[in-house]
Symmetry: C2
């Protein structure tokens, strides 16, 4: 596996994601101060899946310079304030999710084994802490 | 803006993305060793957008336990090896992309100003380093 490539693509994914969040934040703020512009930004962004944030920003700067600059500022603020310990968060979250999946699998295998040979059920938490779907569309 | 929420959702996004990359790596490896299973995994994953990686893994463990465990192992390895300096990468990448967008914008504004008042054009790089689209579908 090409780790450098995965590292670069992961950073790009986060950059795209923060841009998407910046747009959502701007729409929320405009809903209060300028509802008409909020509707415009929502419609302008509706068909964008934010898999190429730089092309989105470039297009927004052409359509509405002030909004484009605003999104750029917000995403840079988000990058400065919301990414502390990101690597550690992801590592521990994947590690814990994997433990939960293995525990769940073991429970299923134990339950399907003959009852006479199965050990007493441990006190555990079969419910998975499933992530909620992350919908990237602005709607 | 709710920074804790953005931080949590960003970590979840990276977790989903590394799971997607783990599936791609597994398919590439299986293409060499077990092409039939590679096709099966590709088809099984084709309609998944990896916005809920834990539900995907849970489903894969039910359909093919060994492959599910393999994806879990690969994504944990990716998290351990490919995420160093992720926060710093994203911060500097967004900062540099914003500088490029502002430079590009300034050039456009300068070019559209009356020629008599426009200063000599600086040597600059109008080409944006646009990200390539990140296609999350397995196809």
């Amino acid at each position: 596996m090409n780790l450098k490539w995965v590292a670069r693509e992961t950073a790009k994914t986060v950059q795209n994601y923060l841009t998407y969040q910046a747009v959502r934040i701007a729409i929320d703020q405009l809903n209060e101060t300028n509802p008409g512009l909020a509707i415009w930004l929502r419609q302008h962004s509706a068909n964008n899946n934010f898999q190429d944030a730089e092309a989105y920003i470039e297009g927004l700067l052409l359509a509405n310079k002030e909004l484009g600059l605003r999104i750029m500022t917000v995403r840079e603020e988000l990058a400065q304030t919301a990414l502390d310990f990101l690597t550690e968060r992801v590592r521990s979250s994947i590690h814990e999710a994997n433990i939960e999946h293995r525990r769940h699998l073991l429970e299923r295998m134990t339950q399907s084994a003959p009852p006479t040979s199965s050990p007493p059920a441990e006190s555990s938490h079969p419910e998975l802490d499933l992530n909620e779907p992350t919908d990237r569309s602005i709607d």
